[in-house]
């Protein structure tokens, strides 16, 4: 797969403050990357630099191998950027709003009406065609903005907190929409400080704090790395202490803790050998009620890798 987006030692400083420090990211075509960090970590600054809105103090960013600083016009054609805060124009209807942007993206007149219908369908706003945009609800505005972002069929989407400030239903709508975009094969960089909303559909994660990229890569890999292996939950009827002693002596087990009658086992061994723990318990005569792997949770990872210094 080809690299769609790349940053090299991207740095932005404002006087004494370093908003983004030596950020190196590589995003392949079709990747959905969750860009996670607490408020003020530098997510928006990074996205703005990639989308040509901010000039980096040093370093470079490339979209489809085009230097963002050298050829901003070319890059602007390739990307769809949705800012975290944005306004809409007064006194203009939804279709007029989209028509304006379609014209501004130089979509030929003959194709414009169809394109507008398509994006309205995709964002489920067909019923709001003739409504004034400043009268739409926040969730609808957000969807309209996404519709606008999709007009010129960009290969890369840069979405800055697309679901912030929305009620749960509107948030789910946006999520569904993003899943559809994923199917369409878009490369998406999506930032958020709320983790569960990303966990479902991202295949990669980049965590940033105080301008530094802390960790990035495949979602599963990062979870394991961050947690130091997997967490196994073992429920026993009795003899917890003995069981804990038995397990902690086995290969691949890093630590065992007991909480409310369950054993929490940190396991770093091979997944294929995981069953040996259960075999040992059963053959030792322990009354095992359940033996399971804890659900992977981005939030745990996030709390673990970040220090909360700027949150």
């Amino acid at each position: 797969m080809s690299v769609m987006m790349r940053t090299e030692c991207l740095t932005k400083t404002y006087g004494q403050l370093t908003a983004v420090n030596n950020l190196c990211l590589e995003i392949e075509q079709g990747d959905i990357v969750g860009f996670i960090g607490p408020n003020g970590a530098g997510k928006t600054t990074t996205i703005k630099m990639i989308s040509t809105l901010l000039t980096p103090t040093s370093g470079a960013a490339y979209v489809a191998d085009i230097d963002v600083q050298q050829h901003p016009e070319k890059v602007r054609r390739l990307i769809g950027y949705m800012p975290d805060f944005f306004g809409v124009y007064d006194d203009i209807k939804a279709w007029e709003y989209l028509d304006f942007f379609a014209a501004a993206y130089k979509i030929p007149k003959s194709k414009r009406a169809k394109t507008i219908d398509n994006v309205l369908d995709l964002t489920d706003l067909s019923g709001k065609r003739d409504d004034f945009v400043d009268a739409l609800s926040r969730g609808m505005k957000q969807r309209l903005c996404l519709a606008k972002t999709l007009l010129h069929d960009p290969a890369v989407l840069l979405l800055d907190e697309p679901a912030s400030g929305l009620d749960p239903r509107a948030r789910i709508d946006i999520k569904e929409l993003l899943k559809e975009l994923k199917v369409m094969g878009k490369t998406i960089l999506i930032s958020s400080h709320i983790l569960p909303e990303l966990a479902d559909f991202c295949n990669k994660v980049a965590i940033i704090e105080r301008g530094e990229l802390i960790i990035s890569g495949d979602v599963g890999e990062i979870m394991e790395k961050a947690r130091g292996g997997r967490l196994l939950i073992v429920k026993l009827l009795d003899r917890h202490d003995e069981a804990a002693e038995l397990l902690s002596k086995m290969d691949g087990v890093r630590s065992v803790t007991i909480e409310d009658g369950t054993l929490r086992v940190q396991y770093t061994g091979l997944p294929e050998e995981q069953h040996e723990l259960l075999t040992a318990l059963v053959s030792g005569g322990y009354k095992v009620q359940s033996f399971s792997e804890a659900e992977i949770d981005l939030e745990d990872v996030f709390m673990k890798v970040t220090t909360g210094a700027v949150a």
Partner: protein
């Protein structure tokens, strides 16, 4: 395929693709013309003028109602008076409406955070500015068109010709274009709508006030037939068919007014495209060329016209006029120097070495403080060349209705020019110094302006010293304060008119009266060298205006 076919094909393609479309105009007009608001504005506009016209007509009717002599109706030139009032009123209303329509066009996008999404489209800065400018300007043109029936009514009363009305409307259209451009420029330059509107209205008011004052002076004062009488929309009718003499050429005043106002409007619009956020474009070459062209053309028209009649038929006011010209040049350069000489000095470039790296002529059009300094010098040279050349020519020229020729003291004028250059270089160097100390351009500009203001504030102190020892003796005239007064270009300029210090034999520090300009240049040169070396020192510490 034959050449003809190819030509036909490409031409047809050209025409097919030539359908001009500006999405910004479409969008702006869609929202502007929606609902009743736009129609209410039109209604109010026409109604207001109709009421005023009716009042004038009614008072006229009351005046002559008792008179049995129908001649009094003709004598009153009612049609001219009515249309003249209509023109005044429209010019004032345009001054209020045009900037208010455009001064928010970009700032509102900044405030509502729509500018980022707009900037990321494939629209160029020119598309955006043209769209915003035209959507405001077209609305003003529509209001002007709404008033045409009233103009037609004025025509029926006689004493005003269709040609006068047509030219008046053209002047008003140029007047509206300039004010729309001022609004767009302020909107692109400033962050907040409130600031942009305030500056736009202030600029419009000052420009309208000065040009109208000048146009009225040309009509009712002794400076008749000035070429610059057509700049004012308020006095448009009075100058609509006037001709003015520029040396041996007779030019229509209205044409000069329309051309200058439109040219300034275009210049401001081009300038606005470089001030849009998220569009990094450098149009320094175009802007500076336009600025040179417009200012020199205006200067030439004005000087040539003044020599052809403004000074009167009897020569004798040359020195006063020369002083007047240099006061104007000074008034232009005082704000221009800080604007051009400040800015980001550039990556890895020492301010001093940045002055000496490239060929000078290319440098003068480079958008950097060093380039700005060279441009100021070029501008100074061109402006002084126009003034000196026209004065030199005038020394063999007889003004209209006179047999004598002018006698400008060219040596004095050269002195004043050189003194002015000294001040420009020194202030420019101070501009570079602040560019390498201050964190942004605005504060650097303000500081340079403050220093210039301070310099002029203590200037009278020097003169006061001089005046206090009015019964001249050699010792007093060589006093240090008296010498120092020559550092201000005001002294060399003032000296030209002769009334500055009658009977003076001149200072000794500058050797002789004939060298005051050179002395001024030398003294300011020392200031410039100090400022530049200081700026190099500060720049090494990594301070100064950053790029962007």
């Amino acid at each position: 395929m034959s050449i003809v076919e190819l030509a036909q094909k490409t031409l047809a393609g050209r025409i097919k693709n030539a359908r001009y479309e500006n999405p910004v105009i479409t969008k702006e007009l869609r929202s502007r013309m929606r609902g009743a608001r736009a129609h209410q504005i039109m209604m109010a506009y026409v109604l207001l003028m109709a009421i005023v016209l009716f009042c004038i007509y009614y008072s006229q009717w009351m005046d002559v109602a008792g008179s049995a002599d129908p001649q009094s109706w003709f004598d009153s030139r009612l049609g001219f008076r009515l249309f003249s009032s209509l023109t005044w009123l429209q010019a004032v209303l345009i001054g209020l409406i045009a900037p208010s329509l455009t001064s928010g066009c970009i700032t509102i996008e900044k405030e509502q955070q729509t500018i980022e999404m707009l900037s990321l489209t494939t629209l160029s800065a020119r598309n955006i500015i043209v769209g915003k400018l035209m959507s405001g300007y077209l609305f003003v043109l529509m209001l002007l068109a709404c008033s045409l029936p009233l103009a037609g009514m004025c025509l029926m009363f006689g004493s005003v010709s269709p040609a006068e009305i047509a030219v008046t409307y053209l002047i008003l259209a140029a007047w509206a274009f300039l004010f729309s451009s001022i609004g767009v420029f302020c909107s692109a330059q400033f962050k907040k709508t409130a600031t942009a509107s305030l500056i736009a209205f202030g600029t419009v008011f000052i420009y309208a006030f000065l040009t109208t004052l000048w146009a009225a002076e040309c009509k009712y004062g002794h400076n008749t037939n000035s070429i610059l009488g057509g700049l004012s929309g308020c006095m448009a009718l009075d100058h609509s068919l006037d001709m003015a003499q520029v040396f041996y050429i007779r030019l229509p005043v209205a044409l000069a007014g329309i051309a200058i106002n439109t040219a300034i409007g275009i210049l401001l619009a081009v300038l606005a495209t470089t001030r849009l956020p998220f569009h990094r474009i450098d149009r320094a070459v175009l802007i500076r060329t336009m600025l040179l062209g417009i200012s020199l053309a205006t200067l030439f028209l004005f000087v040539g016209n003044a020599l052809s009649g403004l000074l009167g038929t009897t020569p004798g006011q040359e020195s006063d006029f020369a002083t007047f010209m240099f006061v104007i040049l000074l008034a232009v350069f005082i704000p221009a120097v800080p604007i051009f000489s400040t800015g980001p000095i550039g990556k890895n470039a020492n301010p001093v070495s940045s002055l000496t790296r490239e060929p000078i002529f290319r440098k003068a059009f480079e958008n950097r403080p060093a380039g700005g300094l060279f441009f100021l010098a070029l501008w100074w040279a061109a402006a002084c060349a126009v003034v000196i050349a026209t004065f030199a020519y005038a020394n063999s020229y007889s003004p209209v209705g006179s047999t004598g020729t002018y006698s400008f003291d060219l040596v004095n004028i050269l002195q004043a020019s050189i003194g002015l250059l000294g001040a420009i270089i020194a202030w420019g160097a101070i501009g570079m110094l602040f560019s390498s100390i201050m964190p942004n351009k605005n504060s650097a500009v303000v500081l340079v302006l403050l220093i210039i203001a301070l310099a002029w504030a203590i200037y009278p102190l020097m003169l006061w010293q001089h005046e206090s020892s009015y019964n001249y003796t050699w010792e007093n005239q060589s006093g240090i304060m008296w010498q120092a007064a020559y550092l201000w270009p005001g002294t060399t300029i003032g000296e030209m008119s002769g009334g500055w210090h009658p009977g003076s034999t001149g200072p000794i520090l500058w050797l002789d009266k004939g060298l005051t300009g050179v002395g001024c240049l030398a003294a300011w040169g020392i200031v410039a060298v100090i400022a530049l070396s200081l700026s190099g020192k500060y720049y090494k510490r990594g301070r100064g205006i950053p790029d962007e």
